[in-house]
């Protein structure tokens, strides 16, 4: 069972994603900011992280900078799931190790499952 970590500060969305991914057959853990997420990653080593960018305490990019996925977790997939689609933020996320960048507003539960499965199955990173 693939392990997924949801990092999302909006409780409403965090709960919805948890329900959907658990129902989708994944082993799910949740965090509400980058700091919590770093702790969980070191304990559970998830296969995939669903990562929001703008969060209190430690935002998504700062989390990626600390996590250093390319060096420490080369097989870990990271889907940035953000409502901000400014080019600068997209570039930064990829620079620090994101696998995909998706505008979360348009994703229904079934689309979320689809994106997660596709990403877990993919070998390479988005350009």
């Amino acid at each position: 069972m693939a392990k997924i970590l949801i990092v999302e500060d909006e409780k409403l969305l965090n709960e919805a994603y948890e329900l959907v991914l658990k129902r989708g057959g994944f082993d799910v853990s949740v965090a509400f900011n980058g700091e919590e997420a770093l702790d969980i990653v070191s304990q559970t080593k998830p296969d995939l992280i669903l990562l929001d960018l703008r969060m209190p305490k430690m935002d998504g990019v700062a989390f990626l900078q600390k996590l250093k996925p390319a060096d420490k977790y080369p097989d870990m997939k990271i889907i940035v799931f953000s409502n901000y689609d400014e080019q600068r933020e997209i570039d930064e996320a990829f620079k620090y190790g994101a696998t995909r960048y998706i505008l979360k507003a348009w994703n229904s539960p079934s689309e979320l499952i689809k994106v997660v499965k596709e990403t877990l199955e993919s070998d390479s990173k988005d350009s």
Partner: protein
Amino acid sequence: MARNNTEVRNESHDAIEQLENQIERLILEQRALNKRASSLQRRNLRLEELNKLKNEFIAVASHQLRTPATGVKQYLGLLLEGYADALTPSQTLFLEKADESNNRQLRIIDDLLQVARIDSESFKLHMSTLEIKKIIEKVVEDLQDKLKSRNQKIVYQLPDKPIPVRGDSERLRMVFENLIDNASNYSPSGTTITIKLRPSKNSAVIEIKDEGVGINRQDFPKLFQKFSRVPNPLSVEVGGTGLGLYWALKIATLHGGGIKVQSRIDKGSTFTVSLPRA
């Protein structure tokens, strides 16, 4: 009769005085003009600043609006996709309508953000050499469900050889999505949308022709204005912000191309995009 010296001297004196007055007046006018110019310059800078603030405000407000709409989308999705108890047909129908309405809100937010972005100084295109045919085929593929539900057909008229252009693939994809989506929205079901791609001297020309409600000639200039919507029998049903064509024309223009429209009421419209060849 010869005039005496005193008369001549007096006249010269008067002329000099007049000139001096004139010069003084001109200097005063010049000063006033300089003052006015610098005041206009200051006002211009202030307007530029306000415009920038307006764009920033639209961007921040739109992003903030996306969050609650994302929650609505997720939870409606949970209900519609069976994560809760089974729904009756009318419950499903009402939830689908709520989802449709929320999607419309998300589209408005997307449009506002696109326009705020293109109007900002930092906007730039990411250029590469592209094959327009591929971009259009991808747009049609993405719109396939909608076209099918409206029983509308796409007919291609393509040249034998590809016509490469220099362009921003994502932005051009959005331009064609906007135009083909409009062609579908403003045409009755069962009609055909013809997409023709042809080379001209220095450009690639893409025509999107529908069999829809058409546009009055006097409304042509309004079509490409920001927040302007031209009333027609389908405009209320379609909704929209009146930003799509403004944005599309701006993108085409930034590429060094343009968009033209030809239309007749009840006969349909043709939007012609031209883009410089690579």
